[in-house]
């Protein structure tokens, strides 16, 4: 009987530990995965602009690496760093929300850069989240 109680207690603690881990687990970021594609910011935008559905099938929720020129870098209302890369379109950009804790010193408008992020889709801009600067 005592042995059974001990086993039950260990399982309970393990269960609670696992629940706590799930509850506090970190957000998935682009840092942890290899990109499914590496292309210029403009090329990514052109693909989405030409065929949203096909591009979603290819890139949605997947890690993409884009290279391009920085249009703007700044913080949004949620204090997240956002880097917007230029495309051939006047209005559209590849908008990258940089993951928390990532260093972005020295990046300014006009900088050539390579960014890896998780693709959220296309809606005026192609949006990437939890992005990191590629070394």
């Amino acid at each position: 009987m005592k042995k059974f109680l001990w086993i039950a207690l260990i399982l309970l603690v393990a269960g609670l530990g696992f629940a706590a881990y799930l509850w506090n687990k970190p957000h998935r970021t682009a840092d942890d995965e290899k990109p499914v594609a590496m292309l210029t910011a403009d090329a990514l935008f052109m693909e989405f602009s030409a065929n949203d559905a096909a591009s979603n099938a290819k890139y949605l929720d997947k890690v993409v690496e884009v290279s391009g020129v920085v249009n703007t870098i700044g913080k949004n209302d949620a204090n997240e760093t956002k880097i917007a890369l230029a495309t051939s379109d006047m209005l559209a950009e590849v908008s990258c929300i940089i993951k928390e804790g990532e260093k972005t010193d020295g990046i300014a408008s006009g900088t050539n850069i390579v960014i890896r992020g998780i693709c959220n889709g296309y809606n005026t801009d192609v949006e990437l989240r939890q992005a990191v600067i590629s070394k």
Binding site: R28, N76, G121, E127, R129
Partner: protein
């Protein structure tokens, strides 16, 4: 002939003036908040697109579902994978019209009015009507509105196990600072 050209040029001039009436942002803010006795759930997007035609009152909103940021990664996953199924329905949109009968968006001031139209979430479209406040100042138009959404209306199935955790009246707050779209 000269008269025809003059009238044509004049009418084209007026048309282009009327066209220079679209206000736009791609940094619109949508915040939703679900309050229950068990727990509060909230998330925000800062990348919503809004276009407002100041002449007609036509207004459109569009937001990527995966752009909603939750504090807890697990909640964000459940939201996307189980409730919104955002791989299948990546966007939520609104297409409607603001009632401009007592509103002059060309004049600085604060105006309260109603916005009605179709809200599409999770692939389901439902008509909604909400109060909105438009503030015109410094050449920009700020739009503020609040509405309530019932997930069931949009075929969003909440499993029985978590039913107590998610409100059937989710408060959705929408803000945008719109600048004139010059193309």
């Amino acid at each position: 002939m000269k008269k025809v050209i003059f009238v044509l040029a004049l009418s084209m001039g007026i048309t282009s003036l009327l066209n220079a009436q679209k206000y736009f942002t791609k940094e619109g803010k949508i915040h939703f908040f679900s309050a229950t006795t068990v727990e509060n759930i909230e998330a925000t997007s800062n990348t919503a697109t809004c276009v407002l035609d100041a002449a007609t009152g036509d207004v459109e909103w569009s937001v990527l579902v995966k752009g909603f940021k939750f504090e807890k990664a697990l909640m964000e996953e459940h939201f996307n994978e189980n409730y919104m199924e955002s791989n299948t329905f990546p966007k939520a949109t609104f297409k409607g019209k603001a009632d401009l009968s007592s509103v002059n968006l060309k004049k600085d001031g604060t105006y309260k009015t109603k916005v009605s139209g179709d809200l599409t979430i999770h692939g389901v479209t439902k008509p909604i009507s909400t109060d909105a406040t438009f503030t015109v100042a410094g050449g920009k138009i700020t739009s503020d509105s609040k509405t309530y959404v019932n997930p069931k209306d949009f075929n969003i199935t909440i499993p029985a196990a978590v039913k107590e955790k998610i409100s059937d009246k989710i408060e959705v707050t929408v803000n945008a600072t719109l600048a004139e779209l010059k193309k």
